[in-house]
């Protein structure tokens, strides 16, 4: 069937063009109002602009068609420069439905289809189709076998708003909110400049205590703002498991929905920041196959109780389960891990402080020597991180754990590992230690250093079990899947 997207696409694309031009136009009009130069010509100009945008929207809608047959999905678009993109249905890796604010208002959605190609953006992007139609399309793109299983049991999971608020409160996004407010202030500065000046004059009459309180109040508002942003971003979170297909959706304003088969999961990452560790929480994310865009790493759960992770995995990702790592790093490797960075910092700080001490005249110049305090801090932080690095193998899963300020544990199925590499510099070759690295599809790599070579041999033996569905003749088959 060849068809066009919904006519509301015209409204949507017009709104988004106008929205992207809103700031410069608003600035121009505000300026005109301030100078009292607004007249009929201004309005004619604005109307012609809007008319042009509308005509452009109609033309782009007219030339925007898509065809879905049994083997391919084809999207044609473009007014002057035509483009046609054909994607093989069997190459599809994931299908997602996204809605931005305008689309939510108009009950429309964007359907994205991704394959494992290396382009950064989704292979197919169908904008402005009815939400119901998008859902229908998504299920029709699934293969037939899946559709017959549609009636199978469905398990859904939501995250209470209290948990989201707590996750937002501990996510340390205050800095981002501050940057946002500062940028906004820079922009509106010229319009509200005189009011700000007056405000500062008024403020200068207050006491230090009142000013401090005001400052703290502003910070508090920013902090609460950051929590609200977090809730808006991850709110209405819903994970649905149907057969072995997962659907993850979140976002109160801009809604993101991604559907993928559990087979597509390359790795599960469990992260615990130091503050999360204190209160026994963790966040779960997945590496799924997609183009190297943002969906490569997908948030599965922003704030799960550590003692509930096992139950969650059993229900939603039965292939993954937690276990304790068997292999620790080689204690003798630490000095090789730390010596070059330490030497580098020492040289850098020595050069920097020599320059400052020679050039500056003030007696404060010796304060630069405080830089050297970083060396012990770095040494102990690296040592603590190094000692906690682990790897382990179990039931067809490889686990790799690193801990710096944040504890990060990666679980990846053996059959998903595309390459296993160990490496060591020629100078350390005789020390019988090496660094390990695993490569997954989509240029994802995880590494850790340094492990004993005997441990690495064990890992290699574990990795070198059969990858074939029917093992080669005369070969011992030991795999346990």
């Amino acid at each position: 069937m060849t068809r066009r997207v919904h006519p509301l696409f015209i409204v949507m694309s017009s709104i988004s063009i106008i929205r992207s031009l809103l700031i410069p136009f608003a600035a121009l009009i505000l300026n005109a109002i301030r100078k009292g130069e607004i007249n009929t010509y201004t309005w004619i100009g604005v109307s012609v602009g809007i008319l042009f945008v509308l005509l452009y929207g109609i033309a782009s809608w007219y030339f925007y068609t898509f065809t879905i047959d049994t083997e391919t999905i084809r999207v044609r678009k473009g007014i002057f420069q035509k483009s046609e993109r054909t994607t093989q249905r069997k190459r599809i890796e994931s299908i997602g439905i996204q809605q931005n604010v305008i689309e939510r208002l108009l009950r429309l959605a964007t359907l994205t289809v991704e394959t494992s190609s290396e382009s950064g953006s989704p292979e197919v992007e169908l904008k402005g189709i009815r939400l119901d139609f998008a859902k229908q399309l998504k299920s029709s793109i699934k293969n037939e076998e899946q559709i017959t299983e549609e009636q199978q049991k469905e398990v859904a999971y939501t995250i209470p708003i209290r948990d989201l608020a707590l996750a937002g409160a501990l996510s340390g996004r205050v800095g981002l909110a501050l940057v946002g407010i500062w940028t906004a202030y820079q922009f509106v500065d010229r319009f509200i400049d005189r009011y700000i000046n007056r405000l500062f004059q008024e403020l200068s009459h207050f006491s230090l205590l009142v000013l401090t309180t005001l400052g703290l109040l502003v910070l508090l508002i920013v902090y609460i703002g950051s929590i609200i942003v977090y809730i808006l971003k991850y709110g209405s979170y819903r994970a649905v498991l149907q057969d072995r297909r997962l659907l993850i959706g979140y976002g109160m304003l801009n809604r993101t929905e991604v559907a993928f088969h559990a087979d597509k999961i390359q790795a599960l990452v469990i992260q615990e920041s130091w503050i999360q560790r204190l209160i026994g929480r963790a966040s779960l994310s997945l590496h799924i196959i997609s183009a190297s865009g943002e969906k490569e790493r997908l948030l599965l759960h922003p704030f799960i109780r550590t003692n509930e992770v096992d139950a969650f995995l059993t229900t939603y990702l039965p292939r993954f389960r937690q276990f304790s790592p068997q292999h620790e790093v080689a204690p003798s490797g630490f000095r090789y891990r730390v010596r070059w960075p330490l030497l580098g910092y020492t040289l850098l700080f020595t050069a920097l402080s020599s320059v400052v001490i020679i050039v500056l005249d003030s007696s404060w110049r010796f304060l630069i020597l405080l830089l050297f305090l970083w060396l012990p801090v770095y040494y102990f932080a690296v040592r603590s991180g190094y000692r906690k690095t682990r790897f382990g193998t179990g039931h067809d899963l490889l686990m790799l754990r690193k801990q710096w300020v944040q504890k990060e544990t990666v679980y990846t199925p053996r059959l998903k590992i595309e390459e296993l590499t160990w490496s060591v510099s020629r100078w350390l070759e005789a020390k019988e230690i090496a660094r390990i690295e695993i490569q997954l599809r989509g240029n994802t790599a995880f590494n850790a250093l340094y492990f004993e070579r005997t441990d690495i041999d064990t890992l290699q033996r574990w990795y070198k079990q059969s990858f074939l569905s029917t093992p080669l003749a005369g070969e011992a088959e030991t795999d346990d899947e």
């Binding site: 299908i95 293969n143 993928f260 088969h261 020629r426 070198k464």
Partner: protein
């Protein structure tokens, strides 16, 4: 551990690598000499900086052409171990990469005039995550390796992904 033999590069790969480097470095030498002569003859300069550049180039060029091909021959090893390709390589870092042959997506083979003269071949073995390049293999050995890898392309991988 497996008893399969490690394969090494043939001795003549050293000569092939050296010969392959010559055109580029000859060009660099011509450019260096040319610019020095221009500066001395026409611009009336005393270009000591060209000496520095020339020295830096020599510091790179001599080890590159004399030692690195020998070290590559010494360190580079590969073998097909049941259903895995294991490659050991690296001059300053020793690396050992294990790739399951079923994951191999395509094999590119290249030969140029120099490689043909020494009966050598370069194989690019690509997986979805990256690739291993085996440079200057003996042509017969390379062909054999390619046939072995291609045999696996027909086999079915256990990890069958569905949408």
């Amino acid at each position: 551990m497996s008893t399969v033999q490690w394969h090494a590069l043939p001795e003549r790969s050293i000569r092939a690598e050296r010969l392959g480097l010559l055109p580029l470095h000859a060009l660099i030498a011509v450019i260096l000499i040319g610019t020095t002569i221009t500066q001395v003859m026409w611009l009336d300069l005393t270009p000591w900086w060209m000496g520095v550049v020339g020295l830096l180039w020599l510091i790179y060029f001599i080890p590159r052409i004399v030692y690195i091909p020998v070290l590559r021959l010494k360190y580079m090893r590969y073998r097909i171990d049941e259903e895995f390709l294991v490659v050991r390589h690296g001059i300053f870092f020793r690396r050992e990469v294990t790739v399951p042959l079923v994951k191999v997506q395509l094999i590119d083979s290249q030969t140029g005039p120099i490689l043909r003269r020494y009966d050598l071949i370069t194989l690019d073995i690509r997986t979805a995550s990256g690739f291993a390049t085996l440079t200057r293999l003996d042509r017969a050995q390379g062909e054999e390796l390619r046939i072995q890898v291609e045999r696996f392309a027909k086999l079915e991988e256990r990890e069958e992904e569905s949408l």
